[in-house]
């Protein structure tokens, strides 16, 4: 229903000033979400979230080695210190989820599954359970 709860949750989780929703300055352009919501052809909202692909195009096209697939966790990880900001990952992502940060255009807004959280914040904040977690067997 495009409540944007997942987006606010993601912004709050990655806010350096604190993780509470009250710490989040909604007018500060440096607060940015790693997921987004688009409208499809029928004007239905669809959440665009990182799939942590098995054969990740972003990893394959990354020349600097900033994007890597962690075989143990299955997550696609991003190291901003190794990133050359060539944006190949942005161009190659088949889901259109990756984007450069809006202010400096230096860092890729990449889902990190909220580091060590059991349930990522976007899932936690979804009131309709449109986003949910399932363990996929390899």
């Amino acid at each position: 229903m495009a409540c944007l709860g997942c987006i606010l949750g993601c912004m709050a989780e990655h806010n350096e000033k604190g993780k509470s929703i009250y710490d989040l300055d909604l007018e500060d352009r440096t607060n940015e979400s790693r997921n987004h919501i688009e409208l499809d052809q029928k004007q239905n909202p669809i959440p665009i979230v990182c799939r942590h692909c098995e054969e990740a195009e972003c990893v394959i096209t990354c020349m600097s080695g900033a994007m890597t697939k962690n075989d143990e966790t299955g997550l696609v990880e991003y190291d901003k210190d190794r990133c050359a900001a060539c944006f190949m990952c942005v161009m190659s992502c088949p889901y259109g989820v990756l984007k450069p940060d809006r202010v400096n255009k230096k860092v890729i807004m990449k889902c990190d599954m909220c580091d060590n959280k059991d349930i990522p914040r976007c899932v936690e904040c979804c009131p309709t359970k449109a986003l949910y977690m399932v363990e996929v067997a390899k």
């Binding site: 944007l4 709050a12 929703i21 009250y22 909604l26 904040c125 009131p127």
Partner: protein
């Protein structure tokens, strides 16, 4: 085999209640809170606007303005003022009905139970009458005349009711209210689609509404009720679910308008009512207090010992009280009458009657109260009570929590009864404060909600923390209901206070937390504060006094809050009142206001850091006074 899964219930400061609710087969607020725990971030920050068809618009870094161009400041201020207006309207409705009842009591030569208050107000309002009934009529009329004035005419009684330095400050700030209802009306106009966009103008309007809410909706409602229903007298009383006596036909009352029950209280203890009750096997009728109107009746309990069984608890205990099965009829006239009580009533065959349509419940029968019809309404309630008792008692299983509440809660504290207790003047209290035996005064007021740690959790924890630091606590509102049921308003709670406060309490035989009753009594706290300030010849913001509505719930609480800020007092809220999305609104309320009224909003959801902040304010105010 299908196993019924029990939903988890939320925490409560009152463990007996928490355990009782956890085992209930009914769905209550304490169960539902878990199903609503994912909150909308835009709502929490107050930056959602649906005032027009282009909405809902929400503020994000990508969309910093609504379609119309409204900024976060405009959106937040509009939402905030709308909430304060609604809250103010609620209290004005209450005082309006009280004033009409007083006027009609006078016209019909009804019983005047509070002669001292009648004379106090007659003198204050400069009413030149010798006859008590004429005085009552004139007092009622003066209040109504003010409420109904147009916005461009200042209300006459404000200057008489307000503390002089405050009145002057309000005059300088241009926030003296015109006709109270007209002020609410125009604040609705102001906050409608594409009208006012100035956050500061809207915040000043909220303060203006706070003044009429406080002086009329709170303070005067108490006084008018004291005239009609009797003045509060200090006494120990039973509280909690233990007040229910199953041998009687039990009528639970919910709301805020005590004067609407004035006739019924007498009718229920007539020989006629007693005989009728005996015919169906009951000993008679009892009124069981619930929510603020129960708290109000408790305050005046000295006058109603034969009909009032005691106060059971606050807003979030009402569903559980009905679930005991011991209630036969519910009579409601205002909030907090939760929609959640209806399915429980249906299941347990509890008759619901509503006597004011503002609180009409879907499943309740509506019988409009009017002074003229009071006798018929009372007779009808008696008849329905009999019917319900006869019909349900042999079919219903009673489920009572064991040992809920206590028998020695000190009640009946008011601005007048406390002064009398202190020997006719507030001087002894001031002496204790000056001597440092009492560090300062905290008003812990407002509601209970289920989000600040659980039911009454923040209220009880903060209160314990403050008394430990030798700060005496005065409570008014549902907060009192929670604090009394956990024993903090019983004299033995003195052991929880710091050494100095403890010795004061033990010497006087009082608890460290004083029970002023319903939220309406926030007006009584203002009267106490004013009296302290006038003896010291200082203005209210200079007092070592803080207010906290830690677990505010309703729009009414926000109108009370606006009053506190207009009075120039520091006001703490655990949950932000949906304003943090606006930098201007937040800055004005938490910083700039100190230079305007002296008031200041403090938002903090941690008990210890809140107690630190409040204690520091008290200490710095003591320092400024040189004590």
């Amino acid at each position: 085999m299908a196993v019924k899964m029990k939903a988890a219930t939320c925490k409560s400061a009152d463990k007996i209640l928490e355990d009782f609710i956890a085992e209930l087969e009914f769905d209550t607020c304490h169960h539902r809170i878990g199903t609503q725990d994912i909150k909308c971030g835009f709502g929490l920050q107050g930056v959602c606007c649906k005032l027009c068809a282009n909405g809902p618009c929400r503020i994000t870094p990508d969309s910093p303005k609504g379609v119309c161009g409204a900024t976060s400041d405009t959106i937040v201020a509009r939402n905030f003022l709308r909430a304060v207006s609604a809250g103010s309207a609620c209290y004005l409705h209450i005082v309006e009905n009280a004033a009409w009842n007083l006027k009609k009591t006078g016209e019909n030569r009804g019983k005047i139970k509070g002669k001292n208050t009648l004379n106090q107000l007659a003198q204050l309002f400069e009413i030149d009458e010798t006859n008590d009934h004429q005085k009552a009529i004139k007092i009622g009329e003066k209040v109504l005349e003010d409420l109904y004035k147009p916005r461009f005419k200042e209300m006459e009684l404000v200057e008489k009711l307000a503390y002089e330095p405050r009145y002057k400050r309000w005059q300088e700030l241009g926030i003296l209210p015109g006709g109270a209802k007209a002020e609410v009306f125009d604040s609705l106009v102001k906050t409608s689609t594409n009208l006012n966009s100035d956050p500061v103008d809207m915040l000043l309007h909220a303060l203006n509404l706070g003044i009429s809410t406080g002086l009329y909706g709170l303070f005067l409602t108490n006084k008018l009720n004291d005239i009609m229903l009797g003045e509060p007298m200090i006494r120990p009383a039973s509280v909690g679910f233990k007040v229910l006596d199953l041998d009687y036909i039990n009528i639970m009352i919910t709301g805020h308008q005590h004067s609407l029950f004035s006739h019924l209280q007498e009718a229920l203890v007539t020989e006629y009512a007693k005989e009728k009750a005996k015919e169906v096997g009951a000993k008679g009728f009892r009124i069981v207090g619930s929510t603020c109107v129960g708290q109000d009746l408790q305050l005046r309990g000295e006058h109603y010992q034969d009909v009032f069984s005691g106060h059971s608890g606050n807003n979030f205990t009402s569903e559980a009280l009905i679930a005991t099965g011991g209630i036969d009829l519910i009579l409601s006239e205002f909030n907090c009458t939760f929609p959640g009580i209806e399915p429980i009533c249906e299941e347990l065959m509890v008759k619901m009657i509503c006597i004011d349509d503002v609180a009409k419940k879907q499943k309740a029968e509506f019988v409009q109260y009017s002074y003229e019809d009071r006798e018929n309404i009372s007779l009808y309630v008696i008849e329905e009570g009999i019917k319900s008792y006869k019909n349900r008692r042999n079919k219903i299983k009673i489920n009572m929590p064991i040992n809920h509440g206590n028998d020695d809660t000190l009640t009946g504290v008011s601005e007048d009864s406390l002064r009398e207790f202190l020997g006719g003047s507030y001087k002894p209290l001031i002496d204790l404060i000056v001597a440092g035996k009492i560090k300062g005064v905290a008003g812990i007021v407002g509601c209970s909600n289920l989000v600040s740690g659980g039911h009454d959790v923040f209220t009880v924890e903060l209160t314990k923390e403050l008394i430990k630091r030798d700060v005496i606590v005065l409570s008014a509102g549902c907060s009192s209901g929670g604090l009394e049921n956990v024993g903090l308003m019983s004299p033995q709670a003195a052991v929880l206070a710091g050494n100095s406060l403890r010795s004061v309490c033990e010497q006087l035989g009082i608890p460290p937390v004083l029970n002023f009753g319903p939220c309406l009594s926030i007006g009584r706290l203002e009267a106490v504060a004013t009296e302290l300030a006038s003896i010291l010849n200082i203005d209210l913001p200079q007092l070592p006094l803080i207010l906290s509505a830690p677990q505010w719930l309703e729009e009414q609480a926000l109108a009370d809050g606006a009053f506190a800020l207009a009075l120039g007092l520091p006001l703490h809220l655990a949950k932000p009142p949906y304003i943090t999305g606006s930098k201007i609104v937040t800055k004005v309320l938490t910083e700039d206001l100190e230079k305007l009224t002296g008031g200041k909003l403090i938002m903090d959801d941690d008990v210890l850091s809140t107690a630190d902040k409040l204690e520091n304010i008290i200490l710095s105010k003591r320092g400024a006074l040189g004590i």
